[in-house]
């Protein structure tokens, strides 16, 4: 856990005292397994389960499928193993460890055993404050890569994995690989879905 993160958590009132107690430190350290580097080109079962539940938390099943049904966990696994630089992978895995630490610190249970409401509280702790960027801002930072924090990476990968999936194309979207025409005056409510190819 970074000093900044600890300070942030303190300021949010997650920790009562100014100094961390020994038991508190042990609880924090218990997140270490979730930060472990991949072995044999794969993350651990516990890491994959945490990723799956985080993804489902970000894009849950509603009247349309959620992230797990759409295959998002496998996509994130592939990105973390194959696509991320070592530095990006480290940020991501540290983030998983932090999620686990917060869960154990608060409720003395692994993140994956918390109910969705508590899981959401844990994940919210890691969301950076919104900068209120307007839609016309030239460059919206892509959260999947670079030095951006775990929360933005996890959210971006979940969003990308979900909204580019076949499951989303057939439910969340109006999938038309060959529309056949252009109608510049079409009304959204006549379709009710965004169009994707």
């Amino acid at each position: 856990m970074s000093t900044n993160r600890r300070d942030a958590l303190k300021s949010m009132g997650l920790f009562a005292g100014a100094a961390l107690s020994a038991s508190c430190q042990r609880a924090l350290d218990s997140g270490a397994d979730l930060s472990a580097p991949p072995t044999g080109g794969s993350l651990s079962e516990a890491q994959l389960e945490t990723i799956a539940q985080l993804a489902e938390l970000i894009i849950p099943e509603t009247d349309t499928p959620g992230a797990i049904t759409a295959g998002v966990p496998a996509f994130i696994h592939q990105i973390v193993i194959d696509w991320y630089t070592p530095a990006e992978q480290q940020i991501f895995l540290d983030g998983l460890g932090e999620i686990e630490s917060i869960a154990r610190q608060h409720w003395s249970a692994p993140f994956t055993e918390l109910d969705p409401e508590r899981q959401a509280r844990v994940l919210s702790e890691l969301e950076p404050p919104s900068e209120g960027a307007g839609p016309a801002t030239a460059a919206v930072p892509a959260g999947a890569s670079g030095e951006l924090p775990f929360f933005l990476k996890m959210k971006e990968l979940t969003v990308l994995g979900f909204y580019t999936s076949q499951a989303a194309a057939n439910t969340e979207f109006d999938y038309q690989p060959v529309p056949g025409h252009y109608d510049g005056d079409a009304r959204f409510d006549e379709v009710g879905r965004q169009w994707v190819r």
């Binding site: 990105i79 016309a136 999947a144 580019t164 969340e172 060959v178 252009y182 959204f188």
Partner: protein, 569 residues
């Protein structure tokens, strides 16, 4: 006319199969010449070669994320293009295999295709005629030399090309952006029409029209090409041939004559010159796969290898007669590189149209033709001018997800509706011909074929910088006048070459002392040598150049064959 009679391998050799080479091949073969087309890139079949066409996102590697290590090592230049990704990478040049050099203080981007069809596969299809505002520009303000032709010389060839390739557009009656032989225009969407009305009301000298685009909106009589089905990304390839490319159009026409021989993986290193006849006597070819060298011969040679590629070949064709490069008595060869200023403009967010959501993906935008310096009495801090390309659409899930805090069911629900309407206006500015903007052959570095690498020394002048500034000011003013609720300018500070409109390195002119080519794209000093791609351009205008290359090529082919028939070549 027969190749055998004169002891030549072919009647004509065309170097390059892109937008210019395809036209040279079609015209020369249709006029009966046995023609060899040499393409340095890999073979590519129309249709079967379009691996990314209609590929759904879930089948694209890493869902479209860039393959960063590969791009950095092998495509550092090509991967800067908006059209470069895993659905198109197989069309592009490999930078590692085709290195070039540039002044490190002045980066230059050379974006190239690496397949048969060249950049005609990847182009943005915008198709605008030049006018005498362009052909007289150098004469009027003294930058560069006078063009040896005027609009009247090329106008019939524009019409000839338009009828064959199919150009969708709206006639506007503007003298400085002449109308052409148009197919039905594509439609503006609801916000674009509103913006057009407001711009034309606030700025009566400005016009906004739908883009003129080489995409079929209705069938062509002479052709089996299909009409556009509005899937969007033309640059992935279109197996029904709705957009014009060499592969969909000119090369099949050339093939149908029975006079075409097309060889891929054929890198032209240089041309042999025979001082006795004063002619090109051979074309030196390196096999891209085996590196074997051979020489082929023909009565005439058309260089259509792209502005920079054709000039590289000429610079590398040195002899006692032409120690500084073939046909380079003037020292103009390699100089006067032009492009268009690119990457600056403004975006505006609009409210009030949220009920509307266009259906289909129109492979085209809007166009605001140049309105500056149309007469000589305007007082502006720059000469020449700029036009705008742009369009309006709604922000998609990817942008909105990044702008929407939180997660969960509410977050997911919020992404179900499209985001706000955004209209963008990006300027394309004319670049002046300057002798110091040049390409040379590197004295020691060679590429994988043993050919000296090109070295670029190119920068913008104060005139281009003033244009880039004014583009942002004007774009912002027009979007505000149109009622945008939020406007921001942008300037990506693009470098030379990035507009992929590079031109001017073997310019046409009246005087052999200051130009390489005559009014018919024929080398002043070598009568059987023609250069008909962007190298021939004497100035750059601010409109997209491809149709002018096509028209010049068809015109030059007609002239060359007449000269051959009259025994003058």
């Amino acid at each position: 006319m027969s190749a055998d009679a004169g002891g030549y391998d072919f009647d004509a050799i065309v170097v390059g199969s892109g937008i210019s080479g395809g036209w040279a091949a079609k015209e020369l073969t249709e006029k009966g010449l046995k023609t060899l087309v040499l393409e340095r890139g890999r073979p590519l079949q129309h249709g079967a070669g379009y691996l990314g066409e209609h590929q759904p996102a879930w089948e694209t590697p890493y869902r479209g994320l860039p393959l960063r290590d590969l791009y950095r090592e092998e495509y550092p230049i090509q991967s800067t293009s908006y059209a470069f990704n895993e659905t198109t990478r197989h069309f592009w040049n490999n930078d590692a295999e085709n290195p070039y050099d540039y002044n490190p203080d002045k980066p230059f981007e050379w974006l190239r295709a690496g397949v048969v069809g060249g950049r005609s596969l990847l182009w943005a299809r915008q198709t605008y005629r030049w006018s005498d505002l362009d052909f007289e520009a150098n004469l009027r303000d003294g930058h560069g030399i006078d063009w040896p032709i005027r609009y009247a010389d090329i106008a019939p060839w524009y019409a000839y090309v338009e009828k064959f390739i199919g150009v969708s557009g709206q006639a506007e009656g503007l003298p400085h952006l002449p109308d052409g032989e148009f197919l039905a225009p594509m439609e503006m969407n609801v916000l674009e029409r509103h913006v057009r009305e407001r711009i034309e009301a606030s700025f009566p000298e400005r016009t906004m029209t739908i883009g003129r685009v080489a995409v079929l909106t209705e069938p062509l009589e002479h052709s089996q090409r299909g009409v556009c089905h509005y899937c969007g990304p033309c640059h992935r390839g279109c197996s029904v041939g709705a957009y014009f490319s060499s592969l969909s159009s000119t090369l099949p026409a050339a093939e149908a004559t029975g006079n075409l021989t097309l060889q891929a993986n054929a890198v032209v290193a240089g041309l042999d010159y025979d001082p006795e006849s004063g002619r090109v006597s051979g074309v030196q070819v390196v096999d891209a796969e085996t590196k074997a060298r051979r020489t082929v011969t023909a009565r005439i040679v058309f260089l259509c290898a792209s502005a920079l590629g054709s000039t590289q070949i000429l610079l590398n064709s040195r002899s006692e007669s032409f120690p500084n490069g073939l046909a380079n008595r003037s020292d103009a060869l390699g100089r006067y590189i032009m492009d268009h200023t690119y990457g600056a403009g403004a975006r505006g967010v609009f409210s009030g149209y949220d009920a509307f959501y266009p259906q289909g993906s129109r492979p085209n935008g809007i166009y605001i033709p140049r309105y500056q310096n149309l007469s000589d009495d305007e007082e502006r801090p720059f000469v020449r001018g700029y036009g705008f390309q742009g369009g309006a659409g709604r922000m998609n899930w990817q942008s909105m997800a990044r702008l929407t805090p939180g997660f969960g069911a509410e977050f997911k629900e919020s992404l179900r509706r499209p985001g706000p309407w955004v209209m963008s206006l990006g300027g394309f500015g004319e670049v002046l011909p300057r002798a110091g903007n040049r390409m040379t052959l590197h004295p020691s570095k060679v590429d994988g074929y043993g050919i000296p690498q090109v070295s670029f020394d190119f920068s913008y002048s104060d005139n281009e910088r003033a244009i880039i500034e004014q583009i942002q000011i004007d774009a912002q003013a027009m979007l505000k006048a149109a009622g945008a609720v939020q406007v921001s300018t942008y300037n990506a500070k693009k470098v030379g070459g990035s507009a992929i409109h590079e031109m001017g390195t073997a310019r046409m002119g009246r005087d052999p002392a200051d130009s390489v080519l005559n009014a018919f794209n024929q080398a002043h000093d070598v009568p059987n040598l023609f250069v008909t791609d962007g190298a021939a351009m004497t100035s750059s205008s601010c409109v997209n150049p491809s149709i002018t290359y096509m028209a010049l090529t068809a015109r030059a082919a007609d002239y060359a064959v007449t000269q051959l028939q009259n025994g003058k070549i």
